[in-house]
């Protein structure tokens, strides 16, 4: 590599330092609601600075082609990020993460054999980047498939999974060692292909409910791949930024898993060890339930003193958050106390439901976290469950061996009456039945969440 690239002028290095500090400040600010938005902008400023600086040290060969690729990428990125529905946010994040991993792997593929003048640790970094970047790419692609329902959300376990897994891992590691020792581009391509297979094998056995945690884990992976590529290129900024994301992402993955009462090892390797990631069902149950008309439910709600709404992913799919707020307003106009119980992973990711309700202008004070609202269900007349299922499934408390065993749930079953707004009897994302639906105190109002809610608004207004 030219001298200017491996050993850039001091002012460029100082610029990198500023960018690195921007990233640290951004992460810090992103962890508090008051400063989060500014934090994101600071991060973006740091990234733009870093990219502008790099053009002062690279050769001007291929400049226009590179600028063209950047413009194209920015255009597609902005369009995709602007157009995506709020409900599809997790898939979007996973997609961006996957392409980042792929970019890191490609960079390393091109640099293999040229690392810091062929230095040994540099080759190891190259092999690591190709492997982890590849895993992150195909793993993310698979999570998108699962979230988009292109693939079944239930865990998919290939036959003789331990052997397949073990073999793939062993072959990949062997290839990585060869790449690290020989610095051969040919082997690096083989390694990339193996990494893609490994990523698929890693995510296939993960159950639908755990997918967000895996996205977060793969995000940390990409961070580490970027860090390794920084070592490979002798670029401190890439090293710092990648490591920051790798470390923060690992902690975040752990925190998310904790919020769901899961452990990361169980999620990833539960299927291998024959653990509790049992196969769920997606067939509709034929057991009898008590269903009612919108008018009946309106009476139940309209004469209650206290109603707790439990919103879930079904609400988001139906884009019904605005109508839900209308119903809340109508009920409050009758002097009824209304609050919204937010499970940490309502929607499909921690914090996802808060974003959706905020979009519909549901006041912050009415959105109550799980630990605070759970004791209140006992004194509640009606728990109105809109498009949620797994997060109120009492099986999480009992049935060991159920995919959601141990997951903290909203104790809606403690309320005096329970109303489910459901589209069909299909089970939730985790693929298991919910006993609460068959409880004698439960009423089910079938239909699209948005239609049902508008009918309820009209019916309550007529009371």
């Amino acid at each position: 590599m030219p001298e200017a690239v491996t050993n850039p002028p001091v002012w460029i290095q100082l610029g990198y330092l500023v960018a690195a500090v921007c990233f640290i400040v951004a992460l810090k600010a992103l962890s508090s609601p008051r400063t989060a938005r500014v934090g994101n902008l600071v991060g973006a400023a740091g990234a733009v600075l870093a990219v502008v600086l790099i053009f002062f040290v690279t050769s001007t060969d291929n400049l226009w082609a590179i600028l063209g690729a950047i413009v194209l990428g920015a255009l597609v990125g902005v369009l995709a990020a602007r157009r995506v529905a709020m409900t599809a946010m997790p898939q979007m994040v996973a997609t961006f993460n996957g392409v980042g991993g792929a970019a890191a792997a490609l960079v390393a593929l091109l640099e293999v054999g040229e690392a810091l003048g062929g230095e040994a640790l540099g080759q190891v970094a190259a092999a690591f980047t190709v492997l982890i970047g590849g895993v992150s790419f195909s793993g993310s692609a698979l999570t998108v498939g699962k979230l988009q329902d292109w693939l079944p959300a239930r865990p998919i376990v290939v036959p003789r999974v331990q052997w397949v897994y073990g073999a793939a891992l062993a072959v990949s590691l062997a290839a990585a060692v060869v790449v690290a020792v020989l610095g051969s581009t040919g082997f690096a391509i083989v390694l990339a292909a193996l990494a893609v297979v490994l990523g698929v094998l890693l995510v296939l056995p993960v159950g639908g409910a755990d997918v967000p945690i895996v996205i977060s884990l793969l995000n940390a992976f990409t961070g580490l791949a970027v860090a390794a590529s920084g070592y490979l290129l002798g670029n401190t900024l890439l090293l710092v930024a990648g490591t920051l994301v790798g470390a923060a992402g690992s902690l975040l993955t752990h925190l998310m898993a904790q919020a769901m009462g899961r452990s990361v090892t169980t999620i990833l390797f539960g299927a291998l060890l024959g653990g509790p990631t049992t196969l769920g069902t997606t067939t509709e149950s034929t057991r009898p339930v008590k269903s009612a008309s919108a008018e009946d439910v309106a009476v139940l709600l309209g004469y209650a003193r206290r109603v707790i709404v439990v919103p879930g992913y079904g609400l988001a799919v139906a884009q019904a958050q605005h109508v839900l707020r209308e119903l809340g307003d109508v009920l409050m106009a009758r002097g009824i106390e209304v609050s919204y119980a937010i499970h940490p992973v309502a929607g499909r990711m921690p914090g996802h439901m808060n974003v959706l309700l905020a979009e519909a202008n549901v006041p912050y004070e009415q959105q109550v976290e799980m630990s605070q609202i759970n004791p209140e269900f006992k004194a509640t007349d009606v728990a109105l469950i809109v498009g949620a299922n797994d997060v109120v499934n009492p099986a999480a408390r009992k049935a060991y061996g159920s995919p959601i065993a141990g997951m903290p749930i909203l104790e809606a079953d403690q309320a005096r009456a329970v109303v489910f707004l459901k589209r069909s009897m299909r089970p939730g994302f985790a693929g298991i039945e919910n006993e609460l639906i068959y409880d004698p105190k439960t009423t089910v109002l079938f239909g699209d969440a948005k239609d049902s809610l508008s009918q309820l608004v009209a019916a309550v207004e007529k009371l």
Partner: protein
Amino acid sequence: MTEGIALLTIFVFSAFTGYEVISKVSTILHTPLMSGANAIHGVILVGAVLVASQARTALELWVGLVAVFLATLNMVGGFVVTDRMLQMFRTRRKSSDA
């Protein structure tokens, strides 16, 4: 080798910083934080530009340009989507203040 050690030192310090800096995040910000961190690793674009500018063959150039495209997608898309999420939080605070 001293350069290798210096880089390793930076790596270790950055790891501690990354871990400490988000340790007090509230649950509702998990998704935006993940998304923001995701955008930050889009800075791999710097590496992609470096390798693309040094491509010697047409194939190398094309691979490099694909890397540039993907990295930009990661970076720009990541920051924009994070901002969209966080915009919602701001609207909410305004309406609850009113």
